[in-house]
Symmetry: C2
Subunit: 202 residues, 2 copies
């Protein structure tokens, strides 16, 4: 009995090579490929794979968003995320979205094939190193608003614009930023953004 796999990655080079390698395993069959988030959802709808292997960063909708959509629409389809640089927060988001496997691209194809089988069989698999990172990063000390405001500050926008985009008073924005900065032990909001990014809290 073969496992029907959907492969989604915007890098054609990787996707094609991966499809070829996984195709060599006689119990795996790549039934569909996609180069973007929306395309992945459409292909899944059309081909109803057993396992969807999703790249984290894709145009349109990232892997976690796709996983969320698939979970609602195709409950029988298990999802897993493959990523280049795994941040702790991504892992948390992914697990919350019902993702069953989370692996970095540093694993071998052989190993990936094993993990696909395990996920199909119903187990979960999380890369040990990424898991350790996620645990050591701990939970976010930021409240919902603090995280939101920090996110809006990410691209260097001035307070006035953040306030406009968040529909808040400028003073309130400065308060949230200030408390976020102090909670993160940063010396200003820009380093705070960087720290929160590294820990996956935004």
């Amino acid at each position: 009995m073969t496992v029907r796999v959907l492969l989604a990655d915007d890098e054609h080079l990787i996707r094609g090579a991966l499809a070829a390698l996984l195709g060599l395993e006689d119990d795996l069959e790549v039934v569909a490929e996609a180069a973007s988030g929306p395309e992945a959802i459409a292909m899944a709808r059309a081909h109803r794979p057993d396992v969807a292997v999703l790249d984290l960063q894709m145009p349109g909708a990232d892997g976690v968003r796709v996983a969320t959509a698939l979970r609602a629409e195709l409950p029988g389809c298990h999802t897993m995320i493959v990523t280049g640089h795994g941040r702790p927060g991504h892992l948390k988001r992914a697990l919350a979205a019902g993702v069953r496997g989370f692996v970095p691209k540093t694993v071998s194809a052989q190993r990936l094939a094993e993990i696909i089988r395990a996920v199909h069989a119903g187990s979960r698999y999380v890369d040990p190193e990424l898991a350790a990172d996620a645990i050591s990063a701990g939970d976010s000390p930021l409240t919902a608003r603090e995280a939101e405001v920090l996110e809006l500050a990410a691209d260097g926008a001035p307070v006035a614009e953040i306030a406009r985009r968040a529909s808040l008073s400028p003073g309130t924005v400065r308060n949230y930023l200030s408390s976020a900065v102090s909670k993160l032990g940063a010396e200003n909001r820009h380093t705070a953004v960087r720290l929160a990014r590294e820990r996956g809290w935004v």
Copy 2:
């Protein structure tokens, strides 16, 4: 006559898959693989490949740095860069380092094989879209000091620290930042950093 290829990419999944696919071409032979910059240089020294296919982002030393080293040490070895997200500046740096090919990971393996052959034959190949981006981005309007100071401002450090690290007076730093911001049409230094990054000017 077969082309001897060195493959360097820190993502085992991609590297292995790519090696397998390129190995299918009967005029290409992957003679060495590396997962980091220094390793790539060591492997090249040991195996003397005809073409080195280098990922842009690798631990230790990035693809361009490796290319520079190889150019000096193995003039007979042509280098090419494969990258996920190609920024205009990277392309410029790469060409300056004597790289003969520059392609995004969105090409197919088939296409990559053709390009490897072309590079081995002595031609150059640059992805048309990346080339267009590089041209439209134009040359950096920043002076050497402006770029340096902007770089130091990248991680959100306050002016005082930038001044210390650049051995400049704080006032001078603010002047350079101010002129960089105005040249880039940004509204503050942080968006200026982002813009310069996008255009590959830092």
